[in-house]
């Protein structure tokens, strides 16, 4: 009897240690950004492709100049409401962050203090970003105007308010493999990089499972809007019959083939996509047409 108790205690301790280990935040490797220098002009394009402005400017800010990234955008989800933080270069934002800090946030979802970020920041996509692009993005973010607006805490109930638990979520959902395993041409590779890593299209256009992870088996098949209002359309070729030219032109102009104009969050996406070189929009279109 006493032996059994001892065994149970040992098992409990092992489980606790394993749990602690499994939920531990894991930053990216220290040397990932060694020797890289940021180019703010190139970073501006990464910023545009990533649609960072869409979530990180104040709600209703439709200005077109350098973005004031004071945050405050509310993402309503079944787990609670996430409120985008200030990421401007100020004490209230990400002023003073190193490139490694930015890389950890984007590619590992880990804060400079070593805590998990919630996947409202789409690091399951950004984990595939090129370290050079992260470095360039950092250089660009440093050129933007500072905002002193304090970031607001997310509005989450138990148990989702326990950040440590995100370690388990990451174990399930941090998959660095490409969804489109074979990208046979440089154009497809570029399109895959833009769609699956930087522009994080799947975050809205792919449905999620009960735990909020993307269902890769339904990649780009459309999804209910997590806010509960309306549906986000499928952009998989089995559901969307636009030509590659139609898709590229939509991303440039906001016009559908019927010359309806984009609305909702896609207006922000188009504003960014329109700034990219035409080859990038063509690459995204080629990627979408190539999905199996």
């Amino acid at each position: 009897m006493r032996n059994l108790l001892k065994i149970l205690i040992v098992i409990a301790i092992l489980a606790a240690v394993a749990g602690w280990f499994l939920t531990a935040p894991r930053p990216v490797s220290d040397d990932l950004f060694d020797g890289l220098t940021g180019d703010a002009n190139r970073g501006a394009l990464v910023f545009a492709a990533g649609g960072c402005r869409g979530c990180h400017v104040a709600p209703g800010d439709k200005s077109e100049g350098p973005a004031l990234l004071s945050g405050g955008y509310r993402i309503v989800s079944p787990f609670g409401t996430f409120i985008s933080p200030n990421i401007s270069p100020s004490d209230a934002g990400i002023g003073g962050w190193s490139v490694a800090d930015l890389g950890n946030a984007l590619m590992a979802g880990v804060s400079p203090r070593g805590q998990h970020y919630y996947p409202a920041l789409p690091y399951t996509a950004y984990q595939r970003m090129a370290p050079q692009d992260v470095t360039d993005l950092g250089a660009y973010l440093d050129t933007l105007p500072p905002s002193d607006v304090a970031s607001q805490p997310h509005e989450l109930g138990f148990p989702f308010n326990i950040r440590r638990g995100l370690g388990l979520w990451k174990q399930l959902n941090m998959n660095p493999d490409w969804v489109l395993a074979q990208a046979g041409t440089p154009e497809l590779e570029r399109g895959r990089y833009l769609v699956e890593a930087v522009a994080h299209c799947g975050e809205c256009h792919t449905p999620r499972d009960a735990l909020g992870g993307l269902d890769a088996g339904q990649w780009m098949m459309g999804a209910p809007n997590p806010s509960g209002k309306g549906t986000i359309p499928a952009i998989h070729p089995s559901k969307l019959d636009w030509s590659a030219g139609d898709i590229a032109y939509y991303l440039e102009s906001g016009f559908t083939p019927d010359f309806d104009a984009a609305g909702g969050q896609m207006t922000d996406v188009v504003q960014g996509m329109a700034q990219l070189p035409a080859e990038d929009r063509a690459a995204i279109a080629a990627y979408l047409k190539a999905l199996p």
């Binding site: 102009s253 010359f259 104009a261 207006t267």
Partner: protein, 159 residues
């Protein structure tokens, strides 16, 4: 005397109710007619934009006369006085699936007028540019698209 006043008030009240009830059915019809008119306007925008956009993206061969005609149409349409097509109470909350127009159109202090003006301005610039060559048309269509998106973003219910 007191009874007289009460009676008069009561009658007036009943009359008001009656009018409201009567005009309700009428209002429905009028509301739906307004919705139809503005949706038809949107379709005319889209039809003329289809010609301009088709040329811009290379799906249709550029033709100065056709471009100019479409752009002039667009400019005329967007400078039309549309007030009667947007009566209060014809939003998506009141009429459901008949319209995607959000209540914000009527209750954000007239900002929607600015959005409408930006379409008129961009279309006027397009009307100037469209007949003068494909590059001019391409240069002008971005602002038109932006003005469409500027309105849809805030005032149209997402699909």
């Amino acid at each position: 005397m007191k009874t007289g006043i009460t009676l008069a008030t009561g009658l007036a009240f009943a009359a008001t109710l009656g009018t409201a009830a009567l005009s309700d059915g009428h209002a429905d019809k009028a509301a739906l007619a307004a919705v139809k008119a503005r949706q038809a306007t949107m379709q005319l925008y889209a039809f003329n934009l289809g010609i301009l956009g088709g040329m811009a993206k290379g799906a249709i061969e550029y033709n100065a006369d056709a471009a100019s005609a479409a752009a002039t149409n667009l400019a005329s349409l967007s400078s039309m006085n549309q007030m009667a097509m947007w009566p209060p109470g014809t939003d998506n909350g009141a009429l459901g699936d008949a319209t995607a127009a959000l209540p914000a159109i009527w209750n954000d202090g007239g900002k929607v007028m600015e959005a409408g003006m930006s379409l008129a301005t961009a279309s006027a610039a397009m009307a100037e540019a469209a007949g003068g060559g494909l590059d001019g048309l391409r240069g002008a269509i971005g602002a038109v698209g932006k003005s469409c998106g500027g309105c849809h973003d805030t005032y149209r219910k997402p699909k």
